[in-house]
Amino acid sequence: MKNNTAEPPGTMIEMIKVSKLYPPDVVALKDVSISVAVGEMFFIIGMSGAGKTTLLKLISSMEPPTNGLIEISGNPIHQLKGYKLARLRQKIGVAYQDFKLLADRTTAENIAISMEVSYKKPSIIRRRVKDLLAQLNLTDKHNTITGELSRGEQQRVTLARAIANSPTMILVDEPTGNLDATTTEKVMQLLTKCNKSGATIVIATHDDSIYRHTPHRIMELRAGRTYSIVGGNGT
């Protein structure tokens, strides 16, 4: 990755002392503070149950934090409502760990949803869907009901839906859990491509093959707390 920009890029994600408690007494996150720049690729790692998914849920405003402040490109996301919140969410693509695919719709329909909500032209949607499916080795699944796909395939469909609308921020939860090395490589290539064209990317994973040699920053969570942030070039 090259960081040739003259002025320092703006901040995409700003979290200050964020905690998340699930009743009655599960501390999923405790005093986590991070700042992710626009255009950065950022890894969140940690053992199962460390709080990675919870962190992504907070960033995408699926859940409110119990404490602390979260700003997405300057907007306090948990105070947004209605139209503004919807518009912001259109700019955030999320590949959920549990996929959240509509099992009775085809692959193409599932991917199209994220573009339909911002009223993209049907012809543009069709082209984009074909393009993404080709890049993820899923061309022959275009009209398959997603309920009939393998988990690895479903995972890629979820990713395709997350990036289809060209969001400015992409959150990916465990993108390669069910994939072989070659397909993992393909997925990472696609994400890198999105990152090169300007998208901020946050990847939660415990697959060390995808972050072992990365030049990007890696945050490790342990039991809901920031254990370490390593890598990057010091921005």
Binding site: A86, R87, R89, K91, V117, Y119
Partner: protein
């Protein structure tokens, strides 16, 4: 452009998914429109019939003796103190005899043995239109009966009263069926849309997550209500019109129904009924959405 393409596709999806209950709702809406419009049609026709019959409403005051010109003036004064009337005509015994003879035509000779003044003299009072509600007519006739020298007052009490109660009853039926229409349309539409919403909870959740606006989610449901309203009321009205025509053809020619011209709603009323139904259905879908769909 792509906005409407997307919305219409959503609506199509909804309809496909819950077509069974959609059909039920449509049927219910049409049926309640039909029932309401049916009674309302009878009611309006009854009213215009009443108007027509009322045109001939005359109170006849039979007198003991032929009133002289002076007494006539006095009587006119007394009558008009109760209320203004359209016309007051004095009919002497002789005139009554002549009229009766005229009505008998060829059988006039049966009167040969009768004295020329066997019919009592009378006053024909034609009240103004606004006086023609039953209550007023009753009061008026009671008043006239108390005039000096009055034998009795006649105005076809029987049918006026019956007619009056009949239209009263009809107006209640119209009100009831109108209420039925309002309730069924609002609740049935609200219910089917709730069914759709519950059946697609997962999808609606996801839509919100990927950034669907309230409008994106709601407009298809509103449109669905609108569609139910348009189709339901049109079918209801069309069914009534067909029924109306069928009856007209069946009972054309000399017969009871030919006594008066039975007519269908003017276009304005038809459009109003359809418009109100559409409004009600949209209201039904709106109320559900307000409860179940919110970001």
């Amino acid at each position: 452009m792509s906005f409407w393409v997307t919305v219409i596709r959503q609506v199509g999806r909804n309809l496909r998914q819950t077509w069974g209950s959609q059909l039920m709702t449509l049927l219910t809406v049409s049926l309640s429109v039909l029932i309401f419009a049916f009674f309302y049609l009878i009611y309006t026709n009854m009213l215009s019939l009443g108007d027509k019959l009322g045109d001939d409403l005359t109170l006849i005051v039979y007198l003991e003796e032929e009133p002289g010109p002076e007494l006539q003036q006095q009587l006119i004064k007394k009558i008009t103190t109760f209320d203004e009337v359209e016309d007051i005509r004095f009919v002497s015994s002789a005139m009554a005899y002549e009229r009766f003879a005229g009505q008998l035509g060829q059988n006039e000779d049966v009167l040969d043995d009768m004295p020329k003044d066997f019919l009592p003299p009378s006053i024909e009072v034609i009240p103004f239109k606004n006086l023609r509600s039953l209550n007023q007519v009753k009061l008026f006739s009671a008043y006239l009966a108390k005039l000096p020298g009055t034998l009795k007052v006649q105005y076809g009490q029987e049918w006026v009263e019956r007619f009056y109660y009949f239209t009263k009853l009809l107006s209640i039926v119209v009100l009831l069926s109108g209420t039925l229409l309002i309730l069924t349309t609002i609740f049935m539409v609200a219910y089917t849309i709730r069914l759709t919403i519950l059946g697609r909870q997962a999808e609606l959740e996801l839509l919100k997550l990927v950034g669907a606006t309230n409008n994106y989610i709601r407009i298809p449901f509103l449109l669905e209500g609108l569609l139910q309203g348009i189709l339901g009321s049109s079918i209801g009205i069309a069914a009534l019109y067909t029924l109306f025509h069928w009856i007209r053809i069946r009972f054309s020619g000399p017969g009871l129904l030919n006594l008066f011209e039975f007519s269908f709603f003017p276009p304005v009323v038809t459009i109003t009924i359809i418009g109100v139904s559409i409004l009600l259905c949209t209201l039904g879908s709106y109320s559900t959405m307000h409860k179940f769909l919110r970001i």
